[in-house]
């Protein structure tokens, strides 16, 4: 069978990225231009600034990906691009560029769901992993517990009702003066703290036990800091970070394991930026070990926003026959598993 080469583009938030993927699992190139330094000035991603950066860098990352892969556009089978969810202005840069390239070359165009991309990042380094399996997606914008029934077939078992897990990390990090981005900084500081020093709440939803809520936890942390300040007592930032992180981790692990038990699933994967969190990984490995569950996780480079994962998801969509027209639009609120 002839090789299928996917050129993929990702610009949903603050990374401009392009990749070339061979036959769905082999990364020939994975180029990421991160804008994080720019947004650090503002304490978070500024959509207009992100969009302006994407347009400056989009051609460079695509050319670099093709160069690193040692291929030209002629060798490419299809163009895949993230079309949602994400920041609409940011998405539109990648979508518009991808459409123009598809139009100019006559190659098929495939719109990819950003979170489906994160899930598919697990296929890159775990060649034996195939659906069905469960996947916990945790990032700055998303918290989803998903049953991956087949390639491109997803059932959402639980999702966050308010803040995403990564968002809670950012907000708590800001409150204890760690700055942006919060996830890696909280993770690091937690090493020096006692995770049982402060008991923060673990939210459980009555109507869907697999849903998440992190805004109450975030408020509890902020209230704790305020009340300590009122009392004129010094807070131990490492204890706050460790105790907060433990509360998040406990909920993520418990919901995942409960969902696996319910259907007797024996394979769990994790995806998204927060999947790089060392404490979360360790807790998952321990819990899965006890349950006899095989646990999969991508390297940090495939956890952050990247185009390789979009190329992998794009490959399986290509095989399934998904093709988009030149009227493909950015869909900032695209639902997981939705096909537009």
């Amino acid at each position: 069978m002839e090789d299928v080469l996917i050129l993929s583009i990702e610009s949903s938030c603050d990374e401009t990225a392009a990749a070339v993927i061979k036959n769905g699992r082999e990364v020939l190139a994975n180029v990421i231009h991160s804008q994080i330094d720019l947004h650090t000035l503002y304490g978070g991603v500024v959509p207009e600034i992100a969009s302006r950066q994407h347009i400056e860098k989009v051609n460079q990352v695509i050319n670099k990906a093709l160069d690193e892969a040692g291929v030209t556009l002629d060798d490419i089978t299809a163009i895949a691009v993230t079309y949602g969810p994400g920041l609409v202005g940011a998405l539109l840069v990648g979508v518009s560029a991808a459409k123009a390239i598809a139009f100019a070359t006559g190659k098929p165009l495939i719109g990819v769901h950003h979170i489906e991309g994160h899930i598919c990042a697990n296929f890159i380094e775990n060649k034996e992993l195939e659906p069905p399996f469960h996947c916990l997606v945790v990032s700055g914008g998303h918290t989803h517990l998903v049953h991956v029934k087949d390639y491109g077939v997803y059932e959402i078992l639980g999702r966050t009702r308010d803040d995403a897990a990564g968002e809670a990390f950012d907000k708590v990090a800001r409150a204890i003066g760690l700055g942006y981005p919060g996830g890696p900084k909280v993770d690091k500081l937690s090493n020096e703290g006692n995770p049982d020093a402060i008991v923060f709440p673990r939210a459980k939803m009555a109507d869907n036990v697999y849903d998440f809520s992190f805004s109450g936890l975030k408020s509890a942390v902020l209230n704790y800091i305020n009340s300590m300040e009122m009392k004129g007592e010094e807070i131990n930032r490492a204890d706050v970070a460790a105790s907060f992180q433990k509360a998040v981790t406990d909920v993520l692990v418990e919901h995942s394991i409960d969902a696996m038990r319910e259907v007797g699933s024996k394979r769990l994967a994790i995806a998204g930026g927060v999947a790089s969190n060392q404490h979360l990984r360790a807790a998952m490995i321990e819990a899965c070990g006890k349950e006899g569950i095989e646990f999969f996780y991508p390297s940090p480079i495939y956890c952050t926003d990247n185009a390789a994962m979009i190329g992998v998801a794009g490959y399986y969509e290509y095989i399934r026959g998904t093709r988009h027209g030149y009227d493909l639009n950015a869909m900032p609120n695209l639902k997981l598993g939705e096909r537009i």
Partner: protein, 240 residues
């Protein structure tokens, strides 16, 4: 010289194909759909209708600002993608100058006004001077460079200039009343054959730039917004 021209700087989406003295195709849509839904399908329609072999295109002309930030980026990313895939250079054209080109050959003061909100317009003032014997020999004169201006400031500039003015652009609908009240010189409004962005005008202006060798690489091309993002403006205000 075969030029593919794109303008999605305002509410109108427009694409055109021009070769030397001929406008082979122009497709302009002023409709509620987003540029992301219209621009490429329109280009595809032109390609099919004119049996265009895309590799025969010499240059992509892009109206690269000022204008709607998102609209500019949809046009820019499309032009950059075409340039990358076809391995062709781009010519960047000011949206304001391209609007003035809608009124090619007029010797009044041509004043494009695009609504920039906050009582401002993206504007400029231009005119054409007849030079030489050829019927095409006009010189494009810039009286005021493209700039965001308060509408009242623009009007006082035009009053000082003392020339007859023709306005074009979507700012007409927004600032009609202010203009009627404050402008002292004779003025008129372009009709709908020339009062919105037209990719044909972008192509015409690009021809002039091509003859001067003003090409840019698809990789380096980016919109010229003439305005910082709100976050940047607020940060600078705070630092003052």
């Amino acid at each position: 010289m075969k030029i593919l021209a794109i303008d999605s700087s305002g509410q109108v989406a427009s694409v055109a194909l021009a070769e030397d003295d001929t406008l082979i195709a122009e497709y302009t849509v002023d409709y509620k759909k987003t540029h992301s839904q219209t621009l490429l399908p329109m280009l595809d329609e032109i390609k099919k209708m004119t049996e265009l072999d895309l590799s025969s295109v010499d240059v992509i002309a892009i109206s690269n600002g000022p204008g709607s930030f998102t609209g500019l980026r949809i046009g820019s990313a499309s032009a950059k993608g075409l340039g990358l895939a076809l391995n062709k250079p781009l010519i960047e054209v000011s949206t304001i100058e391209a609007l003035a080109y809608n009124l090619y050959g007029m010797n009044e003061a041509i004043c494009p006004i695009m609504d920039a909100r906050r009582d401002q317009v993206y504007t400029g003032v231009f005119t054409f001077n007849k030079t030489g014997q050829s019927p095409y020999s006009y010189e494009f004169i810039t009286l005021v460079e493209p700039v965001p201006l308060d509408i009242s400031e623009l009007i006082s500039k035009l009053n000082d200039m003392g020339r007859d003015v023709i306005f074009t652009g979507d700012g007409i609908d927004v600032y009609k009343e202010v203009i009627a009240k404050e402008l002292k010189v004779p003025y008129s409004y372009a009709a709908f054959t020339g009062n919105r962005q037209k990719a044909g005008s972008v192509a015409l202006l690009a021809m002039a730039k091509a003859s001067k060798g003003e090409f840019v690489s698809a990789d380096d091309s980016a919109p010229v917004y003439l305005r910082l993002s709100q976050a940047e403006r607020e940060r600078l205000e705070k630092d003052k």
